[in-house]
């Protein structure tokens, strides 16, 4: 059994009348990369703030490496590296000076670690340029460098690829994967770019309205994001009726964008097209495709319109 890095039990956070997190039970195991998925305001950042000690839980417990006392938690947080929301940087200082402040406060004796980490994130040649003159992507890289400065056992990154160009996104992805592989670093990434998360994480945590709606490993997600025939038509209701009556299947789903996903007849697309055509239904699109993580997530939380349940 894997060692547990982070464990929460019935963790709840309320802000006056608003419940930001509700009874979160979660385990983060050593050596895995977790993707933390949720809409804006779902409670992702609140959860990360509780883990990093920036906010206090209203109720419930939180344990890091099995320690849950206040003093013990503080001690364990020394083993964490994090970047929550935007990188915390001093705009009038250089990248090196920003790193130096962090090196000093963390009590890291080796000064060379700064240059090594800056090289690692591709900021080795910024020289005397102040951070205020950095692009968004460069700031993001520096934020990641600061999080990595102490070679943490548990790395928490909130939206780490915001502002990065495509090449930068690939670099960060490869970096995270290699850190996970070489050092066994446990990583928790929250991101809106779900396709990117899909390529990086090995476990997924879906959160919505302050509740964990699902924890799912990559292989299981792949299984669930199964292949289907995507049917696009203006007359959705009639098309669904035809599928049920003439193809004798109810193994389809209506998506929020009015696309019908048919999970049967994958090897007989022509038959599906013929049946719809015979029923005088104008089909504007018919193709075989698979669920993306985005689709899966939207399906789980009820599409883009909150509260609207997808047909299953």
């Amino acid at each position: 059994m894997s060692a547990v890095i982070l464990e929460t039990r019935s963790l709840t956070k309320m802000y006056r009348q608003t419940t930001a997190l509700e009874h979160i039970d979660l385990q983060i195991e050593k050596g895995k990369i977790y993707g933390f998925i949720g809409q804006n305001g779902a409670g992702k950042t609140t959860f990360l703030r509780l883990v990093t000690g920036l906010a206090f839980p209203t109720s419930g417990t939180l344990a890091l490496w099995g320690k849950s006392g206040m003093k013990e938690l503080q001690e364990q947080r020394k083993r964490i590296g994090c970047m929550i929301e935007t990188p915390a940087l001093f705009p009038t200082m250089t990248a090196y000076q920003n790193m130096e402040v962090q090196r000093i406060q963390r009590g890291i004796p080796d000064k060379q670690v700064i240059e090594k980490t800056l090289e690692l994130v591709g900021l080795g040649d910024t020289g005397r340029k102040n951070v205020r003159n950095f692009s968004l992507g460069m700031r993001q890289r520096l934020g990641i460098a600061i999080a990595l400065l102490n070679t943490p056992e548990f790395l928490i990154l909130d939206e780490p690829i915001n502002g990065l160009d495509p090449a930068g996104i690939v670099e960060v992805r490869n970096l995270l994967k290699s850190l996970n592989k070489e050092y066994g670093m446990t990583i928790l990434i929250s991101s809106h770019i779900l396709e990117e998360l899909y390529q990086t994480a090995s476990e997924f945590i879906l959160i919505d309205k302050g509740r964990i709606i699902e924890e799912i490993p990559e292989h299981e997600l792949n299984e669930r994001c199964k292949r289907h025939i995507a049917v696009k038509t203006a007359d959705v209701q009639k098309a669904m009726l035809v599928l049920e009556e003439r193809l004798h299947t109810d193994n389809f789903k209506l998506m929020p964008d009015d696309t019908i996903r048919l999970y049967d007849y994958l090897n007989d697309v022509e038959k599906v097209a013929a049946v719809l055509s015979d029923a005088h239904i104008l089909v504007t699109g018919l193709s075989i495709s698979g669920d993306t993580l985005e689709d899966y997530f939207l399906g789980k939380i009820g599409g883009t319109n909150n509260g609207k349940s997808p047909k299953s």
Binding site: R49, L54, F56, Q76, K78, Q105
Partner: protein
């Protein structure tokens, strides 16, 4: 704790705020000397007479040194790195107070020295030089604690600037009002003015101590038990 203090001093010396605020304070203090000419016994006292007016620059400094830290989220990195919140408050307060002390006392020393060298003055304010120095040190510290308190309570730039500024002008107004005799003895900036006019009292030490203690407690409770955004 030592690491936090070292990090704070590093930030202080590598930001331009400290040097620029210090030089501007010295420049403004030198100009204001013209205003206090004849009111006080020597150049040191004349400079001290104007120190309360210069305290608005420490408000600006608190915004840049502390408020900015909250606004950028840089102070929070200490907490997520496992430092105790009380240690963060202590380190920030100590370094801020030392910086403010240097900003406000540096012009006093230069002007006092100029008086000795060029005007044949003596630096002594009265027979109790050491008591006066202690009162000045405590009053300056107490005066600077107010902006720091609001920095920790508001944890932003806007309110950290506006509220202490409003209070600054309010205190100046009260020091010139009907109750000036009492108010001046209570407010640290008033005490500095009284010291510059040779009207010091040991009671000032007690009131300054209370100002500092309450401000420290306010900063501690405002920061240590709050959610940080």
């Amino acid at each position: 704790m030592a690491n936090l203090l070292r990090a704070e001093f590093y930030k202080l010396f590598h930001s331009r705020y400290f040097g620029v605020t210090g030089l501007f304070t010295f420049f403004l203090s030198s100009i204001l000397l013209l205003d206090s000419n004849g009111e006080t016994a020597n150049l040191f006292s004349a400079s001290l007479y104007n120190t309360p007016l210069l305290s608005f620059l420490t408000i600006v400094f608190s915004v840049l040194f502390v408020g900015n830290d909250f606004e950028q989220g840089t102070l929070y990195s200490y907490i997520s790195a496992g430092h105790k919140r009380s240690h963060v408050v202590f380190a920030k307060t100590l370094v801020y107070e030392i910086a403010c002390f240097v900003i406000l006392v540096f012009p006093l020393l230069i002007h006092g020295l100029a008086g000795v060298l060029f005007l044949d003055e003596t630096l002594a304010l009265s027979s109790d030089v050491w008591i006066n120095m202690a009162i000045i040190a405590l009053s300056v510290s107490a005066m600077c604690m107010l902006p720091l308190l609001f920095s920790f309570l508001f944890r932003d730039i806007g309110r950290t600037l506006v509220v202490p500024m409003v209070l600054f002008f309010l205190m100046i107004f009260l020091m010139n009002g009907e109750q000036a005799q009492i108010i001046t003895k209570i407010l640290p900036m008033g005490q500095l003015r009284l010291v510059s006019l040779g009207q010091q009292s040991l009671q000032f030490i007690v009131t300054d101590f209370l100002w500092i203690s309450f401000s420290c407690l306010g900063a501690y409770f405002g920061f240590c038990f709050s959610d940080l955004k």
